[in-house]
Assembly symmetry: C2
């Protein structure tokens, strides 16, 4: 069985963490345990991950040093975060695999994702990146840089960048080769480094591709039997936070599509995860599961989490 | 023919550059041209590169932001620089390959290099990293962090870290697979992220492995026919800067060993390059060439640069 796992921010460092390497190592050590268990049970794993807090810290470092060191654009920062997180994740996975006496090893491939330069997302930046600012400072930065800011629920302002859809991976061929060779592959971190094709050349763009949508594309590419989207909750809820709240065990493709269209899943949190599951389910006919790290082994081998699509769901 | 190329700092950004992404892209665009020519002429390329100025800038950014963002240790910064440089280099190579109508594509593998925890280098840090400081500031930082500083030729002080020998690559198996599959592979940037094995786990260390020695190990691993060490000069000189200065065309392994032992090649510049060539020549029986980027195609197909070892040199 082959599975693509999308790790959320909490899998990389605990919520509210200061962002020290010790915190990241501790979080990754915990994250690696169930993933290594899956490998031990014969699952071929491809791992993708978010990078929000990590690339946020890189952007903040750039800003504090901006009078002395020229800041790099978002695409380059994204590539730096792939190196940072990929390295630490590979090391944590290798250790967990070794502790189990497994010979499989992990590796990280720096991955570019091609997006469409005409994607409507480029006309409407929505994805917050980097630090929050009070209004005057946000205005000053916007004036100096041309960045677009929007107000956040906490009344502070954050830069927003476009979040175009992933189309394909530049490193598609070698990616498939290392997966076929049986390695645990960490790829397309932070949704992949977004690039557009321009006159037959690739060019990085200041954008962030949703990591779950990217994981869905990755799962389709590698013909995964399963897409696992890991988050902080064990299951997806309908009517979350209302008196009608109910945990969902299984959704057919049609049911998930309907609930998503009805606005049951909040934009910016569960919505894109369900959308990613549907992308994969529609393209592959296989199943996707949204669950927590703690339930991931049971999600693969039993019935933990919320399953979308796949044979069982279609029949049921 | 298979060749490992070690790119120096100038190949990544021009000397004295501020370190903007535009400077890096321009330098890499020039660097990619002769490398793509080699691919066009049938050479299987593995590319390694330095990261001194780039990781220096990452360290500086960390320092300026240290009150707000916890700095990462050297190994993590090295991995970040692999992501940064690898991404930009792969993009430049891809464009150059596409312009030639070649189907070969480049990819970057985040690479860890295992070093020996008992390497004597750990008792004598020698490799300068990061920014230069006047003495009082260096003393303050040394006091706060435990870092070791030494005075540089310019009378300023820089942190020094150990520079242990590369032993092997953690990603050895997948590295060989992607090379065998015919991709242009960027690997072990900045000498590789140095790790030690401790109780069967890998652990990053605050050290920098010499990028040319790492390239030599890489060349041995992939059974390269040729190790190309690119630098600012077309050829190696004996008695450099003296009235006896002479360009060297070819050196047998014995001649190079003798000149190195006699102190003909300055430590910290040409010395480690010759040592790296000798490491590879001794392990493989193949040849190594030290030359400039501008002469690299002629170094492979004609007789540019300084050749060390190989059949010709052994016979001559």
């Amino acid at each position: 069985m082959r599975a693509v796992v999308a790790l959320g921010g909490n899998a990389l460092s605990p919520p509210g963490a200061a962002g020290t390497v010790a915190e990241m190592r501790a979080a990754l050590r915990k994250t690696a345990e169930p993933l290594a268990d899956l490998v031990g049970r014969g699952v071929e794993l491809v791992i993708s991950h978010g990078n929000g807090p990590q690339v946020g810290r890189i952007l903040l470092q750039q800003e504090y040093a901006a009078d002395h060191v020229p800041p790099m654009p978002m695409d380059v920062c994204g590539a730096e975060s792939q190196g940072q997180i990929g390295y630490l994740l590979v090391q944590a996975l290798d250790s967990a695999l070794r502790r189990r006496g497994l010979d499989t090893r992990a590796l990280c491939l720096v991955t570019q994702v091609v997006v469409d330069g005409r994607d409507p997302a480029f006309r409407r930046p929505t994805k917050p990146v980097g630090p929050s600012y009070p209004r005057p400072e946000a205005q000053r930065i916007a004036h100096e840089t041309g960045y677009v800011f929007t107000i956040q629920p906490d009344k502070l302002w954050r830069r927003v960048v476009p979040s175009p859809k992933p189309v394909r991976f530049v490193e598609e061929v070698p990616l498939l080769q290392v997966i076929e060779a049986g390695h645990v592959v960490v790829a397309a971190g932070g949704g992949g480094v977004p690039v557009v094709e321009h006159r037959r050349e690739l060019r990085g763009v200041e954008a962030v591709v949703d990591k779950d949508l990217t994981a869905a594309r990755l799962a389709t590419l590698v013909r995964a039997d399963l897409l696992l989207i890991l988050t902080t909750v064990d299951k997806v809820y309908a009517g979350f936070g209302t008196s009608q709240q109910r945990a969902l065990d299984r959704l057919t493709e049609a049911e998930a599509t309907e609930l998503l269209a009805a606005g049951e899943f909040p934009e910016g949190s569960m919505g894109p995860k369900i959308e990613a599951c549907l992308d994969f389910v529609r393209a592959s006919g296989a199943r996707a599961v949204v669950t927590s790290l703690g339930r991931v082994v049971d999600a693969v081998f039993a019935d933990a989490g919320t399953t979308i699509g796949g044979d069982g769901a279609v029949d049921g």
